[in-house]
């Protein structure tokens, strides 16, 4: 019986902790149903004033109709799905080479990859901007997608570890069958990797979704706006439209939350099998 009691206490503790993590979001959600005047009012109003009225969804309606949020969400979905796809392609290729092959400069490339991963974007953004300017890629999605098709440090790291764990007999069987490297990759290693690939896809997608700096600098046409640019539209030099910003923020979190909720066990299991446990 002691175990059951201990379990109950544990659940209580978990619930308390979860409140600390979810409370700010609940507050954000509640305020997204408030009219502009009453947000951040002093003393604070906890019950959103629009909640029990006909206008409860006004903020959300305005965000969709006046600010075209639906279109921007689709833009973001498109762009970042493509970018995440690029990541799984390029990181699996690189991870495979780094883990199973021998070539000069292997250690150097890997170290450089890890090193450059650490550098914050502000350090390199202006030369990067110039580069895209010269390439004439301004106001297109190319700056947001193409880099993801070329290099990915986190993904390569993860897949290298995973591929190193593939059991030797599988590799040897391939050699005996006389496969070349491409076949070894595509027929033997890649099918094993559906879990980490899916995880990488989701992580790459999530990491990019909230990026503001790059879309801001590279996109100017309204039709091409992403969700993050859309959110920043609610702020100008004279103030912030909090009610719309919060409604928009709630909307921008939802896709990610849904993805995470449905795939979390998957992510955990596959992170486990990608060699992090050792």
């Amino acid at each position: 019986m002691k175990q059951k009691q201990a379990d109950r206490y544990r659940l209580l503790l978990i619930a308390l902790v979860a409140i600390i993590y979810i409370f700010p979001f609940l507050w954000m959600l509640s305020n997204s149903f408030m009219s502009e005047k009453n947000i951040f009012s002093v003393p604070p109003k906890f019950i959103p004033d629009l909640l029990f009225t006909d206008q409860v969804l006004d903020n959300y309606k305005e965000v969709f109709t006046q600010y075209n949020f639906g279109r921007y969400t689709i833009n973001s979905l498109w762009v970042y799905t493509l970018a995440a796809f690029g990541q799984i392609v390029v990181c699996s290729l690189a991870g495979f080479a780094l883990s199973t092959m021998q070539f000069r400069g292997k250690a150097l490339i890997f170290s450089l990859l890890i090193f450059t991963l650490m550098i914050p974007v502000q350090v390199t953004i202006i030369p990067e901007y110039y580069l895209f300017l010269k390439l004439n890629w301004m106001d297109t999605y190319l700056p947001l997608i193409v880099p993801s098709f070329l290099a990915g440090a986190f993904g390569t790291f993860m897949l290298k570890e995973f591929f190193s764990q593939v059991p030797r007999p599988l590799f040897d069987a391939g050699i005996i069958d006389g496969v070349n490297a491409y076949q070894m990759f595509a027929r033997i290693y890649l099918p094993q990797a559906t879990s980490p690939l899916a995880t990488l896809f989701i992580i790459a997608f999530m990491n990019n979704w909230n990026d503001l700096l790059r879309p801001m600098l590279y996109i100017s046409s309204r039709d091409l706006y992403t969700v993050t640019i859309a959110l920043s539209q609610f702020q100008n030099q004279y103030g912030v439209k909090w009610n719309l910003l919060l409604a928009g923020s709630v909307l921008s979190v939802l896709p990610l939350l849904v993805i995470f909720a449905f795939s979390q066990r998957y992510i955990i299991e596959s992170t486990m099998s990608s060699g992090i446990k050792g």
């Binding site: 379990d7 503790l13 978990i14 902790v17 993590y21 979810i22 700010p24 979001f25 954000m28 390029v90 690189a94 495979f96 080479a97 199973t100 092959m101 021998q102 490339i109 450089l112 990859l113 890890i114 090193f115 450059t116 650490m118 550098i119 914050p120 502000q122 350090v123 390199t124 953004i125 202006i126 030369p127 990067e128 110039y130 580069l131 098709f149 070329l150 290099a151 190193s164 059991p167 050699i175 909230n210 503001l212 959110l231 910003l245 919060l246 923020s249 979190v253 990610l256 995470f260 909720a261 979390q264 992510i267 955990i268 299991e269 992170t271 486990m272 060699g275 992090i276 446990k277 050792g278």
Partner: protein, 295 residues
């Protein structure tokens, strides 16, 4: 699996696989980094061409007392973030590591701040930590204590922002630790329990040592992530009060995008780079001496 001791492929093949990565590294990482180095020796306001001024930027940096404070802030932020994230992430993972119905809901709840934008997080916490009407201070007053100025006090501002960043990201590290915990051999734990070990002993003597590879991985990525604090600082304190919560990354932003001193900003960025390099070396030192080889 250890690497095959022989080369089983043609010499060119690995390069076919690795060529996108190499191009990406070169074009989108190394070239901008080298350009930034060049820029750090210039004075450039973006309107005209960069003007070569030799070491002046670095001289200005090293003789600035504000700058020393900013460097220390960066260290402090990273320290709080790395330690906080590892401790919170691990604690949360241990707590959540049960098979109860509905545990998935709680995992999602804790992960929620990870996917919320830093801007929204900053706004909300700014409000909750508000001096007079903020929720946190009202609670503290309710139990009879005087609440501090979380964001307005020069001594507290940096720690407050760092703590909010830890809060935001702990769900992410929790997931990674959870994965690591799943991989711990149940039998070892079971036999330890049969032998009479209590929860503490089995955690510290069995679980923790077996978690070392995971710990190292999390250490690596928390160090990397500890520098990504720009958006939160912008949303909460804008580096204030008086540089108290200014870090190298925010200072680069200020100088590059607000003052338009791109050359000077690049010099700051390079100091940051040296910092990062030191952390990388420190990281691999730990790996070599404290963690068993993964291969």
């Amino acid at each position: 699996m250890t690497q095959p001791p022989y080369r089983w492929h043609s010499k060119i093949t690995p390069w076919v696989f690795i060529i996108p990565t190499v191009i990406g590294l070169l074009v989108f990482r190394l070239i901008p980094i080298v350009s930034s180095l060049y820029l750090s020796f210039t004075d450039w306001n973006l309107l005209s061409s960069p003007v070569f001024i030799n070491m002046e930027n670095y001289q200005e940096l090293l003789s600035s007392e504000d700058f020393l404070g900013i460097v220390l802030n960066t260290f402090q932020f990273s320290l709080i973030y790395v330690v906080g994230s590892i401790v919170c992430g691990l604690a949360l993972a241990v707590l959540i590591n049960v098979r109860i119905k509905g545990i998935a809901f709680f995992r999602s709840a804790i992960y929620l701040p990870v996917v919320t934008s830093a801007v929204a997080v900053g706004i909300i916490w700014n409000w909750m930590l508000g001096p007079t009407y903020g929720l946190v201070n009202n609670l503290i007053e309710a139990i009879g204590l005087t609440p501090p100025y979380w964001l307005g006090d020069t001594r507290l501002a940096l720690n407050t922002v760092a703590s909010v960043q830890v809060w935001k990201m702990s769900g992410y590290y929790m997931i990674i630790f959870l994965a690591g915990l799943q991989g711990i051999n149940r039998d070892t734990l079971e036999s330890a329990r049969v032998d009479g070990a209590n929860a503490f002993q089995s955690f510290f003597r069995i679980t923790l040592p077996m978690l070392m590879p995971t710990l190292f991985f999390v250490l690596t990525i928390t160090i990397i992530d500890s520098f990504k604090n720009f958006e939160l600082i912008y949303a909460m304190t804008k580096g204030g009060p008086q540089n108290a919560s200014n870090t190298l990354v925010y200072d680069v932003y200020l100088n590059a995008f607000v003052y338009y001193r791109v050359g000077y900003a690049s010099a700051i960025a390079y100091i940051l780079l040296i910092f990062v390099g030191l952390m990388t070396i420190f990281n691999f030192y730990i790996k070599k001496h404290l963690v068993q080889s993964l291969d």
